[in-house]
């Protein structure tokens, strides 16, 4: 069975942020949440390298492991998704993830975290595929 992964050639990445913007555009992601970021090391010096990072869709996803309400699920392609209706915004997944993939729009009561949001590998979420409900919560579903 195939596992879906992102591959970024760090020799070619020029930190143009097209990937970041395309993702924000496609999924109408609010300010403050960046499903994808470009990470640069040795900024401004010989040896400067950049790489585009989003959720790694880990085989044994730490976010899923620690979630107290078990809102994560993994598709047959290895895409790690979650259910925002079950998510309680506790933030454990954020602490567990070494890549900073889970993010919070801070739209909860009194400015608390709100529902966790992260890269879905453009595979939407548990709502009906390509429905407006799915789009509103998880962004576009380009895999279905």
């Amino acid at each position: 069975m195939a596992r879906m992964k992102f591959l970024c050639d760090a020799e070619r990445c020029i930190e143009c942020n097209a990937c970041v913007t395309a993702c924000k555009n496609e999924h109408e992601i609010p300010w403050g949440v960046n499903r994808r970021r470009v990470v640069t090391i040795n900024d401004g010096e010989p040896g400067e390298r950049s790489i585009s990072v989003a959720c790694m869709h880990c085989s044994e996803a730490p976010c899923a492991t620690v979630c107290p309400v078990d809102c994560f699920y993994t598709t047959n392609d290895g895409v790690v998704l979650h259910d925002k209706d079950i998510c309680i915004g506790c933030g454990y997944c954020f602490y567990a993830c070494p890549f900073g993939a889970p993010q919070f729009p801070e739209t909860g009561a009194f400015g608390s975290r709100g529902k966790m949001d992260k890269c879905t590998f453009c595979a939407g979420g548990p709502e009906q595929a390509n429905s407006s409900e799915e789009f509103r919560k998880y962004g576009r579903n380009r895999m279905a």
Partner: protein, 960 residues
């Protein structure tokens, strides 16, 4: 990677499946989804992100979605975009994977263009400043009030007192119409961004070999065996061009050499990096050429056949020995030698430059030095070689070609009586009537005779503030500029911000026409006399646009104009009607609901733009190419089969002759390896046939298939008759061509016949290394006006002050003679960021881009930071040498050399530490504001074009 959408059959099924189940991927994904409970997740957005509730559903590529082909509006690469529109709403976008320029790639800005269809921070309706408050008015009121005031100023002070600043973001049809507009208004006081961007390129390059444009293309770089980028950072300014540079790197092992004061993101991908002192471009080029001549690496055959004056260059270059070069540029001999050798060993090699080279008082020297480098190596007129000049805005090439400039008419015809007569014929207007629109008086002389205002260069955008503030006795026109129209042009891309503020305040009338208010709305303290008119973006209209490689592309309309905005050409017609020349403006252009028909405008310029071959690109041919953009080869840009078989993508100019003649366009300029009929060319015979007893015509070099196997002058009726080709013309062509030349024959017959005999209509000459009409015929190094190398000022001084240059007194030596370096010891330079564009209000109003660069900053080397007690992230004052200061965040980095401070120029909305957000009309302030780098940038103007010197000035830094 190709993203393929498959069909969807949503079926309600439990969301979770145990891993290891037997179903396959497609089945699982099809069966995903059940609405769990009724609780909709709270999607309350932060206050700055509140927007009206969406209508029920946003179909993702579903029923009723149509795909509209357009082109990104952010830079001159011209990336193809497939915009997805449903029910008039822009719901999605994909980069065009089959588009030859971007091959499915975008940069941050291109990937964000759909936000124009949201338009949260757009200027939504005509607005007027009354008693310090923004008041909404109607279009009718606006046009009437503005028109009345302008007519009054015209009456009192002459038409020259209204300044028409146009835009590199007009499409070609709007550019042409705008040039015609202010011509018929009766003034040469019009200009656009090219002045402050590549004006020195166009002047320097055109005066070397005929045309001042990018000679090859981004795609042609696939054939380069080495690449040199100086004063350019394409990884941020033209990110998609890196797709093409990397092909050369990966497939040809082509080394990339970067010469820049900063270790830019482009330098990070370079094989060789030279860190030069800002302002020492001529020195580094001559230093490299010293090694080329020393080692005999020059292409002697090429020079013998196609170059005049290289010996004079050799003499100057002999002065630039390695130690002299090191002293002036800061680059060690080994690196200079290596760079020269890399380019010489790996030919054809290409040469790329941008603002780092152009924005200097000696900009025209820099660009000509670059040209001479490529001429010496014989890299011109070859695929993989060339001077690949990366233009800036999406249509700065088009706007330049249509000459929204103060010194020429469309097609670079100039401002002589002959040029006005040519265009009067094309416009079908009486020349005397056109002449009568101008101030009849003369304020300048040429060869002892007075020259009327109509034939003298107008004030350029870089100096418009002096047109307002200078004592009118010193300006070569009747009165000061009293009304300013900032049409699609930001103010914070021009230097001397504090003086600009004063100029804004002194005006009688300020009109801003733009999709956004721009910094022009807020940087001054005016309380009245300001109008903001909402223009539609290029996604809300249609027409052609010219990419940097001279290819023309057709954009289709994605959505209707948002809010109350109107397309620029509609606004032009409305204003022209009010000002009394609406009928003349659109004599042969259909107008419906005040909107001039775009295709009629294209047809009209097809009839007049003979000099640079904008005559063959009819709307019909361009639309056909757009529909078939996937059929073009991505290296040669030639269509292989299909409906456009044999044509080059974009019919790159010169596309000679009439559309019926069907010329395929010229993908690489000056390339004699192909017949002219198939896009081949030679250097233009523009400068006469002889100089100092030497022939300027090409020597035994000519395009393949030429019946004249040598150089020849430009074609006119006389030459055709001499050659015995006159009777090849049809009778209609003969009557049009008699007494005319290749530029003024409206039938295109002279061009057709010349090409049929394998000849270039503009002649076949040598390039000239020495431009005898320029202040420095042989390009030389001169120190910047504000320099901290006082020891070099004596040996390489700037020019003498000039009493009148483009109508204004222009200072040089009187500024350089003062030593500012004690008080302002650091070099100040400026440049671009990938997330923003130009003055920045448009891109900072796009939340997806603005989030990525939220703070204006200055790059400061750790040594300078430590010397001034500055830590990374602290707020600091950067004070320019003329006393203006900006409050920005310190970014302490080794990207810049010690002694050099860099600031990006895209921010605006703060002024000397004061936040001006409250001065924007409500709801139209960009998300991110910041200081304008150019507030601190100083006086300094190119000796030929009045380009501003924004790449090397002086400053000091202190903790804020």
């Amino acid at each position: 990677m190709k993203l393929i959408r498959t069909a969807t059959e949503p079926v309600a099924q439990p969301a979770k499946e145990a891993s290891g189940s037997a179903i396959d991927r497609r089945t699982f994904l099809k069966r995903s989804g059940i609405t769990i409970g009724g609780a909709a997740a709270a999607t309350a957005l932060a206050p700055t992100m509140m927007r009206k509730a969406h209508a029920a559903s946003i179909p993702s590529g579903g029923e009723g979605t149509k795909t509209v082909r357009t082109v990104c509006t952010h830079c001159s690469v011209g990336c193809g975009i497939n915009a997805e529109v449903n029910n008039g709403v822009w719901v999605g976008q994909e980069p065009a994977f089959d588009h030859p320029f971007n091959l499915g790639a975008h940069c941050a800005k291109g990937a964000s263009v759909r936000e124009h269809g949201h338009g949260e921070r757009r200027l939504k309706y005509p607005t007027k400043l009354v008693g310090g408050k923004w008041v909404r008015i109607s279009w009718e009121e606006a046009i009437n009030e503005i028109g009345d005031q302008m007519l009054q100023i015209r009456e009192q002070s002459s038409p020259d007192s209204v300044y028409w600043l146009g835009s590199a973001k007009f499409n070609n049809e709007q550019s042409y119409l705008f040039r015609k507009f202010y011509a018929l208004w009766g003034s040469n006081n019009g200009d656009h961004q090219a002045r402050i961007c590549h004006s020195t390129t166009v002047a320097g390059v055109a005066n070397t070999w005929g045309y001042g444009a990018m000679t090859n293309s981004y795609n042609d770089i696939h054939n380069s065996k080495a690449m040199l980028v100086i004063g350019g950072n394409p990884a941020e300014a033209h990110p998609v061009s890196l797709v093409h540079l990397m092909r050369a790197k990966e497939r040809n092992n082509a080394p990339l050499i970067v010469i820049d004061p900063r270790f830019t993101r482009t330098a990070a991908h370079a094989d060789l990096y030279l860190k030069i002192r800002p302002g020492s471009d001529v020195a580094i080029i001559w230093g490299m050429m010293w090694h080329i001549f020393q080692n005999g690496w020059e292409d002697k055959e090429f020079i013998h056949q196609r170059v005049w004056g290289m010996d004079d260059i050799k003499k100057e270059v002999a002065n630039w020995t390695p130690d002299v070069t090191y002293d002036v540029t800061g680059v060690r001999e080994e690196l200079v030698y290596q760079a020269a050798k890399m380019m010489a060993d790996n030919r054809p090699s290409t040469f790329i430059w941008c603002m780092g080279g152009t924005q200097h008082t000696i900009g025209n020297n820099n660009t000509r030095a670059y040209c001479n480098f490529q001429l010496a190596l014989g890299n011109m007129g070859k695929s993989g070689g060339g001077t690949n000049i990366f233009r800036g805005h999406d249509n700065v090439q088009g706007a330049t070609d249509f000459c929204i400039l103060s010194h020429s008419l469309p097609g670079y015809y100039g401002l002589s009586a002959g040029s006005w007569k040519h265009w009067s014929r094309v416009w079908d207007l009486d020349y005397e009537w056109v002449k009568g629109r101008f101030d009849p008086d003369s304020y300048e002389e040429s060869k002892g005779k007075p020259v009327p205002a109509m034939n003298t260069k107008g004030i350029p955008v870089s100096r418009w503030i002096d047109g307002v503030l200078e004592d009118k006795a010193n300006i070569a026109q009747k009165d000061n500029i009293r009304a300013m129209v900032m049409w699609g042009h930001a103010p914070n891309s021009q230097s001397r911000g504090l003086e600009q503020k004063k100029a804004f305040e002194k005006l009688d009338l300020l009109v801003v026409i733009d999709p956004y208010p721009t910094v022009s709305a807020v940087m001054h303290d005016r309380t009245d006399g300001v109008y903001l008119l909402p223009a539609a973006t290029q996604f809300e209209t249609y027409g052609s646009v010219t990419a940097s490689n001279r290819s023309l592309q057709w954009r289709d309309k994605v959505i209707d104009p948002m809010f109350e905005s109107l397309p620029d050409h509609t606004i032009m017609y409305k204003l022209a009607s009010k000002l009394g020349f609406g009928n003349e403006l659109t004599k042969h252009i259909k107008v419906e609901n005040d909107e001039p028909l775009i295709e009629d405008i294209t047809h009209e310029f097809n009839k007049g733009m003979w000099t640079i071959g904008y005559t063959g690109q009819s709307p019909e041919r361009m639309k056909k190419q757009q529909a078939n953009w996937g059929t073009f080869n991505i290296t040669t840009l030639k269509a292989e089969g299909g409906p456009c078989d044999g044509e080059y993508y974009g019919l790159p100019w010169p596309c000679w002759g009439t559309p019926e003649m069907g010329h395929p366009g010229t993908p690489n300029l000056y390339d004699p390896s192909k017949p002219v009929a198939d896009g081949g060319l030679c250097f233009r015979a523009r400068f006469g046939v002889e100089r100092n007893g030497e022939s300027l015509l090409a020597n035994g070099s000519y395009p393949v298939g030429s019946e004249i196997k040598d150089g020849y002058p430009q074609f006119d009726h006389k030459l055709l008759k001499q050659l015995g080709w006159w009777d090849d013309l049809t009778d209609d062509e003969k009557s049009a061509a008699d007494g005319k030349n290749w530029k003024t024959d409206l039938s295109g017959g002279i061009q057709r016949v010349a090409i049929a005999h394998g000849c270039a209509p503009f002649g076949n000459a040598k390039a000239r290394s020495v431009v005898w009409t320029f202040p420095d015929p042989v390009p030389v190094h001169r120190e910047a006006l504000y320099t901290n190398r006082r020891d070099l000022v004596e040996k390489y001084p700037t020019y003498e002050d000039r009493k009148s240059h483009y109508r204004l007194p222009t200072r040089y030596a009187s500024i350089q003679k003062t030593d500012y370096s004690k008080d302002y010891p650091l070099i100040l330079t400026s440049g671009r960021l990938v997330e923003y564009e130009g003055g920045g209000d448009e891109s900072r109003a796009n939340p997806w881009l603005a989030e990525l660069q939220q703070d204006m900053f200055a790059e400061i080397h750790p040594a300078d930071a430590n010397n001034n007690g500055i830590r990374d992230g602290q707020m600091v004052w950067v004070e320019g040498a003329e006393g203006a200061k900006v409050k920005v965040k310190a970014m302490v980095t080794r990207r810049v050399a010690p002694g050099v401070v860099f600031m990006p120029f895209h921010f605006g909305g703060h002024l000397e530490g004061v936040d001006l957000r409250s001065k924007y009309p409500e709801g139209a302030d960009p998300y991110v504001l910041g200081e304008s780098a150019n507030t601190a940038m100083t006086y300094g103007y190119d000796s030929v074009t009045q380009m501003q010197e924004t790449k090397c000035s002086l400053c000091r830094i202190s903790v804020a």
